[in-house]
């Protein structure tokens, strides 16, 4: 997941906590997403927060990774968001990951893996045994990460049409 550019954690034992998102995390989520994607989307993230912390919370998971202990340079190291979706495209209930990000300076330290495992555990705990995501074909960083976590091509192919053609 990209080169590590400096380290604020011990790579052998990154001291992090994975927990559900809180309102106070939102500004940090927006800032991390903006650092990674180059686009600030505060309204989008506030809407996601409302939906993922107030409705169907038993099958919607917005998890964040924060450094354990005092005095960390960064308040938030990453986040992952997913939910159970059922019967769309004829699919049986399945866990979808639709947002995932790790602070660029702390990559290659197992934070993404911890977030991935945490959301897998949440899905497993409610009886979901398939997890899906969608990755832009050119995004080798995310593609390689999800592959390394054991994800493979699923039974669906995404199709689209340019409506200007």
């Amino acid at each position: 997941m990209g080169e590590t550019q400096g380290s604020i954690l011990n790579p052998a034992n990154p001291q992090i906590t994975i927990r559900r998102v809180r309102e106070a995390d939102l500004d940090h989520v927006v800032a991390l997403d903006e650092r990674v994607t180059g686009l600030a989307k505060p309204e989008y993230w506030h809407d996601i927060f409302d939906r993922y912390t107030k409705r169907r919370v038993g099958e919607r998971f917005f998890l964040v990774a924060e450094p354990a202990g005092e005095g960390a340079d960064l308040p938030l190291l990453g986040f992952i968001v997913g939910e159970v979706r059922a019967w769309e495209f004829g699919s049986r209930p399945c866990g979808w990951i639709f947002a995932f990000s790790v602070e660029p300076d702390t990559r290659q330290q197992g934070i993404g893996e911890r977030l991935f495992e945490a959301i897998s555990d949440e899905f497993r705990a409610i009886g979901i045994n398939t997890m899906r995501t969608m990755v832009e074909r050119k995004n080798q960083l995310h593609m390689a990460f999800f592959r390394s976590e054991g994800m493979v091509a699923g039974p669906y192919i995404q199709l689209e049409k340019d409506l200007d053609d």
């Binding site: 074909r137 080798q140 593609m143 390689a144 592959r147 390394s148 054991g150 091509a153």
Partner: protein
């Protein structure tokens, strides 16, 4: 999709060696496991050596060991040492509509193949192999 035998052998050899970077294996040992001649495999190992993926160790008990970065080396990196994974020739201004349309389809397939091969590292392959072994172990334990 078919891969040339050299590409397949290179991937097999890298997986053997990268599974334990301390391990040295001779060309004959790897060749025997995959049923190929040492002559063919020696050429493959030479190419991998030039790419910095394996190191040759001379002398008695010598052979090859893995010297690459398993988390950074993708299947596409290895395959392109031996063959081109290129798309069709590409439609030109002179192409017929039929040639253009078929090119679109073949390009789509090639794009997916390249993206897949470019996202799977040697480390990911080793993890996949470990999962298979673990699953087989669990099945055997359940049957016992």
């Amino acid at each position: 999709m078919k891969l040339q035998i050299s590409s397949r052998l290179a991937i097999y050899a890298l997986l053997e060696l990268a599974a334990d970077p301390q391990r040295q294996m001779s060309v004959a040992e790897i060749g025997e496991k995959y049923g190929v001649s040492s002559h063919h495999l020696a050429k493959v190992m030479h190419t991998l050596g030039r790419a910095g993926l394996v190191r040759s160790i001379r002398g008695v008990g010598g052979g090859y060991s893995f010297s690459g970065n398993a988390r950074r080396t993708t299947l596409l990196d290895v395959i392109t040492l031996f063959e081109e994974i290129s798309g069709p020739d590409g439609a030109t201004a002179n192409s017929t509509d039929a040639e253009w349309a078929l090119d679109q389809v073949l390009n789509e397939i090639d794009d997916i193949a390249r993206a897949t091969l470019g996202s799977i590292t040697i480390a990911t392959m080793l993890k996949q192999m470990t999962r298979r072994k673990r699953a087989a172990g669990a099945r055997n334990a359940a049957e016992a």
